[in-house]
């Protein structure tokens, strides 16, 4: 008993002193902050500002205890004479967190948004612009952003223009809108003695051969067809928000209205399902499971963003040393085309809070992002840590471990806030694999992908009907349910026109009206192959 009492006492004292210690420490840091503030005003004064950033589900960012203490952030601050206060937004709850941020009124100096005033940020962002939360940037960019003006394409700027004709954010851009690609296990293909498949039929034959060879999942399936929508692309029937087309009367309709092609696409998936070329549970496989299956060598053919190629290949080789991944042209449908939905011109954008004190310097900060110094820093990292100089020649240490790969990715894709995100040229040019990937982008991806009409900001008629909404890369839930039943054989595929009718009747008609109206007013954007 006495022992226990003593233990409790010791524990209590320890806890108490810990609390005291923590208290003192926070006081100390706040003192420090005060001091830096003083010196700021006196001498070169690093610009202090806060910025909200989406984590993009990057491991290094999400696992970092405090991103503001990160080595690379510190160097970035030194290079730009700033003092950043990065506020992370969890990737999966991004839109919820954005709404909460606006509702609480605690808005950082710079707010990172997704492309334009549309998707992901939704209505709230529009309301924020209308309520005058953000600063119109036209004049500031004219005066302080020579690089921004020079390098960011006009289309990307246009997307940042609100209805009132002013620009409200600085975009990070994508010069090649075709980003997703078809991956294949080249080693398996060679072993099978087959050519790279071109049409849907060729592809099915390759998959059948893979099946014979004992590949667990010849084609990688994933919930909601996310990154498994290859054959909807071949038949040009993506049921997504950016995939509208004109019908024969010249009115905008979603592409899934095209029953003939949709049925053909569904038949392809059904064949694959029936023959075991597609995982029986493809409807409930999440992103982590999907990647796991791929890098443990269970999948023969799948779809992923092309810029993930080197990373996935490296991880796959740890499990299957002889494995080799190649990006191949996506299977083409009856019109001889294929590929995935094209991304918008803008990947992320930065809006500036009206109440910030020094917007000119924030503009200069983003302008620096497109300078040569920035390109060198973000591409190659810190001297002595990521590269060394020998006789004026740069020696970059290519990341080996998973951690190192994650850090490189964080530096080049997260922290480099404004750039052409198509690929990091500097890094790819150094290795033969990288040069091959550049080839892939310039020869394969530049030619494929599906054009479409996109309404941005999104159509609002379906705001109260979540089941009917077209996602950016997921079909409406209503369609998803029917597609699943058709593929598994519970419903005849020939019933697709009925599904379209159901979508229309349950509220789709309203959105068709809104789309026609917006199209007439020219309030839409188009994604086009470059």
């Amino acid at each position: 008993m006495i022992e226990v009492k003593r233990l409790v006492k010791i524990f209590a004292v320890a806890l108490f002193s810990l609390i005291l210690l923590v208290g003192c420490q926070s006081e100390k840091t706040s003192e420090k902050a005060d001091k830096t503030k003083e010196t700021e005003e006196k001498s070169s004064e690093p610009l202090k500002f806060s910025i909200s950033m989406r984590t993009l589900a990057f491991t290094h960012v999400e696992n970092s205890p405090n991103i503001n203490e990160d080595e690379y952030v510190k160097v970035l601050e030194k290079l730009t004479n700033t003092d950043l206060d990065i506020r992370l937004m969890p990737h999966n709850e991004y839109s919820t967190k954005m709404d909460l941020m606006f509702a609480s009124g605690d808005i950082p100096d710079v707010v990172q948004t997704s492309a334009g005033y549309g998707e992901g940020s939704g209505q709230t962002l529009q309301q924020a612009v209308e309520a005058g939360v953000f600063l119109p940037l036209d004049d500031l960019i004219e005066k302080h952003g020579p690089n921004l003006k020079k390098y960011i394409p006009k289309a990307a700027w246009e997307k940042q223009r609100y209805k009132d004709g002013k620009i409200y954010s600085i975009p990070e851009f994508l010069s090649n809108p075709s980003r997703r690609a078809t991956y294949i296990r080249k080693d398996l293909l060679d072993k099978a003695g087959l050519e790279v498949p071109k049409t849907v039929e060729d592809t099915l034959n390759v998959l059948r051969k893979f099946k014979e060879m004992g590949v667990a999942q010849p084609f990688g399936g994933r919930a909601d067809f996310k990154y498994a929508d290859t054959f909807f692309g071949a038949y040009d029937v993506f049921p997504y928000s950016s995939m509208w087309e004109l019908d024969k009367d010249g009115k905008p309709v979603p592409k899934f209205f095209d029953s003939k092609n949709m049925e053909a696409a569904l038949k392809t998936y059904k064949t694959m399902y029936d023959e075991g070329l597609l995982h029986k549970e493809f409807l409930t496989i999440d992103s982590k499971q999907y990647k796991n299956e791929a890098i443990t060598g269970n999948i023969g053919m799948w779809s992923m963003n092309a810029n993930e190629l080197l990373q996935w290949e490296q991880q796959l080789k740890e499990n299957v040393p002889e494995a080799e991944i190649a990006v191949v042209p996506s299977p083409v449908g009856p019109d001889g085309k294929g590929g995935y939905y094209l991304y918008g011109d803008v990947t992320r954008a930065y809006a500036i809070n009206k109440e910030t004190e020094n917007p000119e310097r924030i503009i200069k900060f983003f302008d620096w992002m497109l300078s040569e110094e920035a390109a060198k820093y973000f591409t190659f990292g810190i001297e002595g840590r990521d590269y060394s100089m020998e006789n004026g020649k740069m020696n970059y240490k290519t990341p080996q471990s998973v951690d190192e790969v994650n850090i490189e990715r964080y530096r080049t894709a997260f922290l480099w806030m404004v750039q052409d995100t198509t690929y990091i040229k500097g890094l790819l040019e150094m290795t033969p694999e990288g040069q091959e990937l550049i080839e892939v982008y310039d020869t394969i991806l530049a030619k494929e992908g599906r054009d479409g009409i996109n309404f941005d900001p999104p159509l609002t008629a379906l705001d109260t009907l979540p089941d009917l909404q077209l996602g950016s890369d997921t079909p409406p839930k209503l369609l998803m349910g029917h597609m699943a039943k058709m593929i598994t054989g519970a419903e005849p595929i020939s019933d697709w026109p009925k599904v379209v009718e159901e979508w229309k009747e349950r509220g789709g008609n309203k959105i068709l009206e809104e789309a026609a109206d917006r199209y007439k007013k020219k309030e839409f954007t188009e994604s086009r192959r470059k």
Partner: protein, 323 residues
Amino acid sequence: MKSTVVQQNLSTEQNITIKEKSRIRQTLSILNKYKTLYFISIPGILYFLIFKYVPLMGSVIAFKDYNIFAGIWDSAWVGLKHFQTLFENPDSIRVLKNTLLLSFYDILIFPAPLILALLLNELRLVLYKRFIQTIVYMPHFLSWVIISGLFIGILSPTTGIVNKFIEWLGHESIYFMGSEDFIRPILVLTYLWQSVGWGTIIYLAALAGVNPELYEAAKVDGANRLQQILNVTLPAILPTFSILFLLHIGHFLDFGFERVYVFLNPLNQANGDILDTYIYEVGLRNAQYSFTTAIGLFKSVVGLVLLVLANFVSKRVSGNSLY
């Protein structure tokens, strides 16, 4: 004349003030007498004011087009527009039906902890009883995210143990999570699995309070085990059961967003969507705050009607009631 009138007036006024003063004094003395009690009640009253009554005012946004930048007061009034959208929306009927059905099934499984408690009570070996109790409590401490992961695994058509068994019996495996026919049973049974053990605690406590002499007397009269349960144990535990039941009715439509959301996918949600998950999709995902507040109010009204009905029936049938 004039002066007397004034005087009279004065005197009555004085009278009133004196009476008032004495009344105030009386109240003050009562307050003084029970000051500790009043003092103790302050935090409770504040709690209800701040966390229960003030937020109620937020409900006005159901009648406005709420804009978070304009704030509650400056948003424009729209009357019953959002309620109209709600009733015109075919989804809302489906979602309401799902909510009511699931609540109803929850009531069907409500006696399960009672039955389990009776069974546990009949176990004579104390060590064995404790062991079983610990095991049945355990799921209560798991979060729904973990439970869903567990069950999706168990029910998987390729790797799940349930389907392995079905295949062993010579039938084809069933994709439980991929069909809207199974979602409601899955939701109810997982809830049963998670909560049944924990629910037995109160019943076991009530059972411990039963006078052992009653059992002795029953035994002397020649009652067997089953007769003892029916004639001694059950009547002793019934009042506890009916109060718990009424408390459960009080939360009739609030059976948890998380519990349902973690099991939903596009294939089963036609039968699985409930008001809470619908509110989440529309309100938080699409920022339709006013519309979802309208749904919330509607849900409260439905809940209120059901509660009043259940209370009335219970009063008539068993004599027990909440108010």
